[in-house]
Symmetry: C2
C-alpha cells in the first residue's frame, strides 16, 4: 500500500465492488499506484530509465489491494492495470512477485489490452503466456508472475488468489527474472536477462 | 460433470483458457449444462415447472468445471452463464451450493447481464447482492450462494475459489433457500420461501 485510504469491506458477510470492464477502474476502491521511479533496477536500460524518471516519472501500473483477511479460507481479488510504454526496448511491466506462501496459485482474467504473463519457478522453469481479451491465465503454485503490456492500450486483468498467499517482492527485486520481454524489429521477443543473478 | 469431455489442463506449469467477455463461452473448455428437469423441487411453482419441462426442458444455466486439483493451494475458476427466464414468477437461477470445505470463500466478477447473488449461512443470515456488468461480488466463507438472472439477457460471471473447496449441493436440495427472487408487478422482489425446511 502507498498510503491511499481504502474503504473497508465486509469480508464476513460479503460485499460488492465495481471494476470497469473497460479500464479496470473502480468508483469505490482505491488503487495502489506504481511509478517508474519505484522500479529502480528492474529495467535493463538504466540510462533510458533515468531519463524517463526525470521527464515525468510515468505511471507504469496500478492495482487494487482490498485488504482481504490473511487466512487460507479467504480470497484476495481485484483489478490490475499495466500501462503501455517501454524503457529502452523493454515493455512496461509489473514488478512481479512470488507468493510468500509459495504453494498457492493465482488466476488472471484479461479484460482489455495485449500482454504477456511471465512466470518462473525457483528451479528456473520459465513459461510465458499470451494475454488477450478473454484469456484466463492460470499461474500455478510456486511460480513468480509478472504482467507485461506489449500493446498500445492499458492491459487490464481481474485477479484472484488465496487471502494468506502474501507477496514476496524481495526475491525478484534482488535476482530479477530470467527472461525479459522486449521489442525487436517491431516484434515482441523473449530474451535472456543478462543481469539475472 | 455430466459426461462431456473436458480437455486436460496443466495445473503444474500453467495454461490459458478463453472465456468470451460477451457470453462466457469458450473455444477450448467444455461447459456443464443444467436443464430445468435437473432442478426438480427447486422452483416453487411445480405446475409451471412441469409444463416447461414437457415443453422443451429449457437450458437454465451452464458453467465450467476445469478439473482444478483438489488442494488448498490451487484455484478453481471458470465462467458461469445463467439464462433469462422464469418458472411461474420465479427467475431462472443456479442450484446453488455450500462449499464442502465450508470455511472457503468465492469471488464472482460480472461480465454481462443483470442478476442477484443470493447468499445465506447455516445460521440463517441472508445477504442478496446486485449483479451488474463490472460488479465483483465477494461470497464469504460459510455462505451458500446462488446466481439469479433477473434480466432479459444471459447473466455471465467469472468465478474463482479454492481448489479443494468442493460443492455441497445436497444441503440446498433438501432444505432449499430461505428466500426466493421473484417478479411481482414488474419488479424484482425478495420473498420468503414457504417451502423452506
Amino acid at each position: 500500500m502507498t498510503g491511499e485510504k481504502q474503504p473497508s469491506f465486509d469480508w464476513n458477510r460479503g460485499f460488492v465492488i465495481d471494476f470497469s470492464l473497460l479500464d479496470g477502474m473502480s468508483k469505490t476502491g482505491v488503487p495502489t499506484k506504481r511509478r517508474l521511479s519505484q522500479m529502480r533496477g528492474m529495467f535493463l536500460d538504466e540510462a533510458a530509465f533515468g531519463e524517463q524518471v526525470k521527464n515525468g516519472d510515468p505511471l507504469v501500473y496500478e492495482f487494487f489491494e482490498l485488504g482481504a483477511p490473511d487466512t487460507p479460507g479467504d480470497i484476495a481479488f481485484g483489478a490490475s492495470i499495466t500501462y503501455p510504454g517501454k524503457v529502452g526496448d523493454e515493455y512496461f511491466m509489473t514488478k512481479g512477485h512470488f507468493h510468500t506462501v509459495l504453494d498457492t496459485a493465482e488466476v488472471y482474467y484479461t479484460l482489455s489490452g495485449q500482454g504477456r504473463m511471465v512466470t518462473e519457478n525457483p528451479e528456473g522453469d520459465v513459461v510465458v503466456h499470451d494475454l488477450v481479451p478473454g484469456a484466463a491465465v492460470y499461474v500455478p503454485r510456486r511460480y513468480a508472475h509478472r504482467s507485461v503490456n506489449v500493446g498500445t492500450t492499458p492491459l487490464v486483468t481481474f485477479f484472484a488468489f488465496r487471502g494468506d498467499a502474501g507477496h514476496d517482492y524481495g526475491t525478484i527485486e534482488s535476482k530479477g527474472y530470467r527472461k525479459l520481454i522486449v521489442e525487436r524489429g517491431g516484434k515482441v521477443e523473449i530474451v535472456d536477462n543478462p543481469k539475472w543473478k
